[in-house]
Symmetry: C2
Subunit: 68 residues, 2 copies
Amino acid sequence: MEKTLNVQGMSCGHCKTAVEGALNNLEGVTSADVNLDAGTVDVAYDDARVSFEAMKEAVEDQGYDVEA
Amino acid sequence: MEKTLNVQGMSCGHCKTAVEGALNNLEGVTSADVNLDAGTVDVAYDDARVSFEAMKEAVEDQGYDVEA
């Protein structure tokens, strides 16, 4: 399953690394790709193993707001 | 001795941590304090032990441009 998250506040390469790392650390996430200019993260995941809420929380724990 | 460096491209808390850490790792640097809004770093250092060039290089190695 693939989904694009809208994330506020990612400003630099460190932010990209932090958000991608947090998502990739979750069981069930196959890939996470931040687009800084767009303020988005494309995530590929197994929705039987990880929920949107868990992914949202992982990103928010890094200090960013997730819109959808 | 104290000096304020003008640094381009510091955008977030990760940048602040990276720049302060790089400077604090240098022998002779007593403190480094990034102001993200101003794009500056206040550095306190012993100029007998560390040069401006070495501090500039440490910040540039983190991926930022130093103006002065």
